[in-house]
Subunit: 161 residues, 2 copies
């Protein structure tokens, strides 16, 4: 794994702060995760619980769909939903069309909490790019979007999934 900065490859001038694409993405990812961790901890939640709430803001997935969206094993998803249900922001209800299946939804408290969390995450993550010009921020946004789209294709998941 790469955690320490290394020299740029030969043949290209290396401006200050260019860690290379690999180190750059790994450290950027760690920074974003740290922001998510701090914001969710402020609401006494874990990062995964925050991801769960975020997914539930605009859909009511089954456990199986949730597992796919979160890229988790079914048993891990059961545990995550169990703990979130115990804490209150989430609940299950039986799928009227399939006796085996449950749907997972936000409670009223959960919806309010998710709104507050979403706003705070948006603020803190956006603040990471305060040092960039608007043009550069937009470029970063576009480039990130392309990497995300390619990764989704590679995983066989359309963006509308």
């Amino acid at each position: 794994m790469v955690e320490t900065p290394r020299a740029a490859p030969p043949g290209r001038a290396c401006p200050a702060h260019d860690l290379g694409i690999v180190d750059g993405l790994v450290q950027l990812s760690a920074i974003v995760q740290a922001v998510l961790s701090r914001v969710t901890a402020g609401a006494d939640l874990s990062v995964q619980q925050g991801r769960l709430l975020s997914i539930l803001r605009d859909r009511e997935p089954s456990m199986a769909q949730l597992a796919r969206l979160l890229d988790l094993d079914k048993s891990s998803t059961t545990g995550l939903v169990d703990r979130a249900t115990q804490r209150g922001p989430v609940r299950r209800f039986a799928d009227p069309e399939d006796g085996r299946s449950f749907r997972v939804v936000l409670t009223d408290d959960g919806r309010r909490l998710t709104e507050v969390l979403g706003n705070e995450v948006a603020r803190e993550v956006a603040a990471l790019t305060d040092g960039l010009s608007d043009t550069n921020r937009h470029r970063l946004s576009l480039l990130a979007g392309r990497v995300i789209a390619d990764a989704a294709v590679a995983r066989g998941i359309g963006l509308s999934a």
Copy 2:
């Protein structure tokens, strides 16, 4: 937290795949973490264990320095190093200059493993950008580096720490 794509702000054309800077960074971060998770799982390690080995490739920090580098509580660092020591790639030795302090280093096995892991992470993370042109890949690298540098300054950590 933001997990689902949303519409672009008004006033700017929205190219395909632009999720906005916040969603873009959050989802990009999750994708990179997923790559790290798969690569380290292949070596029967966790992501945090991989980060630990990576840090130890070019330094011999104390527990306190490690905790700061990993952004963890001292007790969490103790646990992480305990488990890594039990598995073999890492060991502690007493600091000759401070009787309270330990240094954490890679064992020979750990050094070999870290080399293999580092190469594989580099390959898989770089592959995330296969869909970008060289120019765009370099731009992403530069932008990531700037965000990282700003975040380091904000945390009071020089890049040479």
